[in-house]
């Protein structure tokens, strides 16, 4: 058995208190949420924080609600809650699809949305969705709350835009207008594995059937989750049924990826998957948008 090294433990009861603890001991402290990434890392002895600040007792950070033009998800919301949410299933399909592919039921029951995003693991599923849907993240620190766009939050592998004394309190995505659809497609070596490659695609159709909005996020194929901007631009005004446009965008998305060869597949294969998944994703998201899923 490999067990974690010794660590100190604090379980603050309020957000203020949590931020104060982080401010005081930020260099040697780590936030602990569901622990599904943190505990394995401790067991592998990757880093040995002197203090774990368990935020699971903070009140008011567990919610999934629509208000002010956003779907707002509290940072302590468990991934399983997204899977169960009827609102998410109907209106935020990419997020719903992705939540269902996160790990296995045990991990989803404990892993939090905040932890999934703050971990900065390029193989995690939810960051790609945030990028595709144009999401925002609310960080609360000593100076209060600030909003960071998802495109800008995922700085590097295991590194986000959060400061050491900040806690992510909310993740939100704009409520899609009518004629919108989204999808998350993931190829995994086996069910419950991390993505060999995955793509989140969000589409809004204009009055014709061209794209008024296209968002494409990639998981597992780079140092961070990737927003495939050139691919998004290539689809602007074009139809998701336009094979040529889709192929072009899919090719651009593959170019934006930089996977590495590992036991889940070669870099070349993963790039091919990106092309495929983005192409299939655009078609599927377009289809959902036309059906006007609500």
């Amino acid at each position: 058995m490999t067990l974690p090294p010794r660590f100190g433990y604090a379980a603050p009861r309020s957000l203020d208190e949590a931020v104060r603890v982080l401010q005081a001991r930020g260099d040697e402290a780590k936030v602990l949420a569901g622990g599904q990434s943190m505990i394995p890392l401790l067991k592998l002895r990757v880093g040995a924080p002197a203090l774990l600040v368990d935020i699971q007792k903070l009140p008011g950070l567990d919610y999934v609600e629509e208000s002010g033009g956003f779907l707002r998800v509290g940072a302590l919301t468990r991934v399983a809650a997204l899977c169960r949410s009827d609102l998410v299933r109907r209106k935020y399909q990419a997020l719903h699809d992705a939540s269902l592919t996160v790990a296995d039921p045990l991990v989803r029951n404990l892993g939090t949305v905040g932890g999934n995003l703050c971990h900065g693991d390029p193989a995690n599923d939810l960051p790609a969705v945030m990028l595709a849907m144009g999401g925002e993240l609310v960080a609360t620190g000593p100076a209060g709350a600030r909003t960071v766009r998802a495109d800008g939050f995922f700085v590097d592998t295991f590194t986000t835009a959060l400061a050491r004394d900040e806690i992510l309190t909310e993740a939100r995505v704009p409520s899609p207008p009518p004629r919108s659809g989204g999808v998350y497609l993931k190829v995994e070596q086996k069910v419950a594995d991390f993505a060999t490659a995955a793509a989140a695609v969000q589409v809004t159709l204009d009055r014709g059937s061209g794209c008024a909005y296209v968002g494409i996020g990639l998981a597992g194929v780079g140092a961070t989750a990737i927003k495939a901007k050139k691919a998004e631009e290539a689809m602007a005004g074009r139809e998701p049924t336009d094979r040529k446009a889709v192929a072009e965008a899919a090719g651009l998305a593959a170019e934006a990826s930089s996977p590495v060869s590992d036991i889940r597949g070669t870099a070349e294969y993963k790039k091919r998957l990106v092309r495929l998944l983005v192409a299939r994703g655009l078609e599927k998201a377009g289809e959902r948008a036309r059906r006007g899923a609500r």
Binding site: M1, T2, R6, V187, T196, I263, L276
Partner: protein, 809 residues
């Protein structure tokens, strides 16, 4: 006691016999609730309180990160100064070796590291958390040496020589590929002439990879001394052998050593946590005892996943080059096979079992097989993993046979029906031994019909359906594997108490295969009971039980045959007492439906409990059973599979699996069915996932305490993937075929290992069919292999005629 199997009386071999418990579909696993509710205590769960102590120390291994190296220095001073207890080889008794035969080894490296993961030092700490800290304080310096991972490379003269006398014990292969030595396992008829005269000759090479058991609980032991007496609660499949080994190591009488599987005693104490062949013996069993002696406190020594994966045994990679000859009518006329086994750093394994499978499975007048064991630095040592080479061997054999049928353009089922060994009168050709039983051709025919082969098979390389990017193929294979090997006598005891409680004592444990239910079931049936409610089981604990052989080799059910003799012995003690109560002749009494009755006047009877109440003390029957040596024990069956592949993503999905297996007689019905299903799913892992990998670049950076540095790439469940419930086929149909084996209790044979054997190649043959007849040559089939197959298919629209060399003479 007679050594001849008893074929009448208690051992009811009537195929139509009616039983209370044998084959009863309502019988469920006795330990199921304890297991799913987490109440069973496995060795890793044992705390000081469980053994009546207040403290316990915890131990771990420092393992070598390099595949081949000389240890130039080990400095344990910092660890000792910090209060930890260390062990290196020089601390151990001189000449106290571990392991068997010529390649016995000290439990810790003496000077040369032969594989990545070889234990160099052990350490004990007063808390479990500190073990890694303690290990980090030990400084080892290595001089790295040239290494070789691949068996074919290790055969070259230029390869690093790992053992005195070379990498092949007893010889090797010459420059032109001719076998200069190695072991000639079988030479029947005239292979060369037969190949020269064959209509079709097919030659090809296949291979497998290193696999790890990754059983649910890693191996380990808790050891403690009371005066001169040693107790070891080990996660072992063979408590009796561990007892003997420890007694020899410490030079004390075996009676002063108690070894049990986990806590021992009643069945809830004998929890193994699965073994699959990995847990017969272990160096940590010995080292835990050495440390416990040194510290004067109990020591718990449980492997981490990394040390478990890299230090304990593995399924060894086996490859084979075949030349097969057949006539145009499909008659198999010649088999020439050279098997090369990569036996790892310590050796141990070979290819003989796989060779035996081939010459048993197919009836062919001309057969020649060589088996070459090759030492490499790739991993520890090859040993049993749910079969002893047969699992690998069936992939090799059924790949080659399928491809030969393909060359002949013959339906693969028809080819097997024509050439496989089957009833009547099957004989093992090497020692010329008659089979105790065979389930062929019945198993093949039943599976074929249940699967619907004739509707689904569209011909070689022609998928049974294509839907967009999804192609579905079907495939099949047969299996014929040895079922354990005859061991010295197996023993057990059955006790009845005046209150009617029955206690079964048997030295076997439960692998997860259902032994905890099967053993008491056999005794209960023999005692005429209709329920096991008052039957207790004490297992795998040298304090209470005697040697019943290892829980392995699909032979536990077979070895529980001794229970019938124990019941017979019990009868001899008990029936005279009952006879006087019934005014009957003891020789005429029999057990039946919870009673003992007079067979000459069945209404003259007494209930089982009332008969027990006649006793003034518990009585115990002793059973000794010697398995006959002059027969062949084979397990035979057939598998069919349907597999879907997405030709864009290369993702493979198993749709259905149909598996018929001869099991003699079904004893514990649910257990047997679940074994058959579970083994088949395990075969999905073998086909598509499982492979223990070394870093080919060997840019080995060692981060202290970070277990994933070193030569290894995937010694964990995250990267070494095994199938879970999600990878199950959409539908699985298992068909137990009853083919009474007169040597087994009630006619049963064992099946545990045979449930995985050949599963992988059934899926792979189906995948091949989906992909235009592309032949896969190595397991596991990784995603890039599927990508390659798809590319090949797209550029070879005419199918598989060019996959490999085939000549027509």
């Amino acid at each position: 006691m007679s050594s001849k199997p008893q074929s009448s009386g208690l051992n009811n071999l009537d195929p139509n016999a009616k039983f209370n418990l044998v084959g009863n579909q309502a019988v469920t696993r006795r330990d199921i609730y304890a297991k799913v509710t987490g109440q069973r205590k496995y060795t890793p769960d044992i705390g000081p309180g469980d053994i009546g102590r207040s403290t316990m120390w915890y131990a771990g291994f420092l393992v070598a990160p390099h595949p081949h190296a000389r240890v130039t220095s080990i400095d344990v001073s910092a660890a000792q100064a910090a209060g930890y207890v260390t062990l290196v080889e020089s601390d151990l008794p001189v000449g106290a070796l571990f392991g068997i035969g010529a390649r016995a080894y000290p439990p810790l490296v003496s000077s040369e590291v032969l594989y990545p993961g070889q234990p160099v030092a052990a350490v004990a700490a007063p808390t479990a958390n500190e073990v890694v800290d303690a290990l980090n304080l030990i400084k080892v310096e290595y001089e790295q040496l040239p290494y070789v991972f691949d068996a074919q490379e290790a055969l070259q003269a230029s390869a690093p020589q790992l053992w005195p006398g070379g990498n092949v014990p007893g010889g090797g292969v010459g420059e032109n590929g001719a076998v200069t030595s190695g072991t000639l396992t079988l030479n029947l008829g005239d292979v060369d002439t037969a190949l020269a005269n064959a209509d079709v000759v097919y030659e090809d090479t296949f291979g497998t990879s290193i696999q790890q058991h990754f059983e649910i609980f890693p191996r380990g032991a808790v050891a403690y001394w009371s005066g001169g007496q040693l107790t070891v609660n080990a996660s072992t499949q063979f408590a009796w052998a561990v007892q003997q080994q420890l007694a020899a190591y410490f030079a004390i009488p075996a009676t002063d050593v108690r070894v049990s599987t986990s806590l021992g005693g009643y069945e809830d104490g004998g929890a193994l946590g699965n073994g699959l062949g990995n847990k017969s013996t272990g160096e940590e069993y010995v080292l835990a005892a050495v440390l416990a002696q040194k510290i004067g406190a109990p020591v718990k020594f449980v492997h981490t996943r990394l040390t478990h994966a890299r230090t304990t045994t593995n399924r060894w990679p086996l490859s084979a080059t075949f030349r097969l000859g057949a006539m145009n009518d499909g008659t198999l006329v010649a088999i020439d096979g050279i098997y090369t086994a990569n036996v790892g750093g310590r050796g141990g394994a070979q290819g003989a079992d796989a060779v035996g499978d081939f010459y048993n499975a197919y009836n062919c007048p001309n057969m020649r097989f060589y088996s070459i064991p090759v030492t490499t630095d790739a991993y520890s040592n090859g040993a049993a993993m749910r079969s002893v080479g047969e699992e690998q061997g069936h992939f090799l054999m059924e790949s080659a046979i399928d491809e030969l049928a393909h060359k002949l353009n013959m339906d693969p089922v028809q080819f097997r029906l024509k050439n496989m060994r089957q009833a009547p009168n099957p004989v093992e050709p090497f020692a010329n031994l008659p089979y105790t039983t065979i389930a062929q051709p019945q198993a093949l025919q039943e599976a074929m019909q249940a699967f619907g082969w004739s509707n689904l098979w569209k011909g070689w390389g022609v998928p049974s359906s294509v839907n967009g990017t999804k192609r579905v193929g079907v495939g099949m294979c047969i299996q014929n594997a040895s079922k354990g090997s005859p061991f010295p006598p197996s023993t057990s005891q059955v006790q009845v108490d005046p209150d009617g409680t029955v206690t079964v004592y048997i030295g076997l444990t439960d692998h997860g295969a259902g032994g905890n239910t099967t053993f008491p079931l056999i005794a209960s049936e023999a005692l005429g009971l209709t329920s096991m409610a008052n039957v207790k089981l004490i297992q795998s604990d040298t304090m209470y039980t005697t040697n019943a052989s290892v829980t392995a080799g699909s032979q536990s059910t077979h070895n529980s045959h001794s229970l019938l003799y124990a019941v017979e012995d019990l009868k001899n003690q008990w029936f005279p007492i009952v006879a006087s109560k019934l005014n009957a002749n003891a020789n005429n009494l029999a057990f039946g439906n919870d009673t003992i009755y007079d067979t000459t006047n069945p209404s003259n009877s007494i209930s089982f409990n009332d008969a027990a109440a006649l006793l003034t003390s518990s009585i115990k029957g002793f059973g000794v059973w010697q398995i006959p040596f002059n027969v062949a024990y084979r397990s035979t069956g057939a598998r069919f599979a349907q597999v879907e592949v997405d030709t864009e993503t290369a993702v493979v999905h198993v749709i259905s699996h149909t598996f018929a297996l001869g099991l003699g007689r079904t004893i514990f019905y649910k257990g047997a069915i679940h074994q058959m299903m579970g083994g088949s799913v395990m075969g999905i892992g073998s086909a598509f996932f499982e492979e223990l990998l070394n870093d080919p670049s060997q840019n080995v950076t060692v981060t202290p305490g970070f277990p994933s540095s070193g030569s290894w790439l995937n010694p964990n469940f995250h990267d070494y993937q095994i199938p879970t419930i999600y990878e199950n086929p959409d539908s699985a149909n298992v068909i137990p075929v009853e083919n009474i084996d007169p040597t087994g209790p009630f006619g049963a044979t064992g099946i545990g290992e045979n449930c995985i054997i050949a599963a992988d190649i059934s899926f792979i043959n189906a995948l091949s069919n989906a992909l235009g007849g592309y032949r896969f040559h190595k397991t596991p089939i990784r995603i890039e292999d599927v990508v390659e197959a798809i590319q090949w298919m797209n550029s070879n629209p005419n199918g598989a005629s060019s996959t490999s060399s085939s000549t027509t003479s």
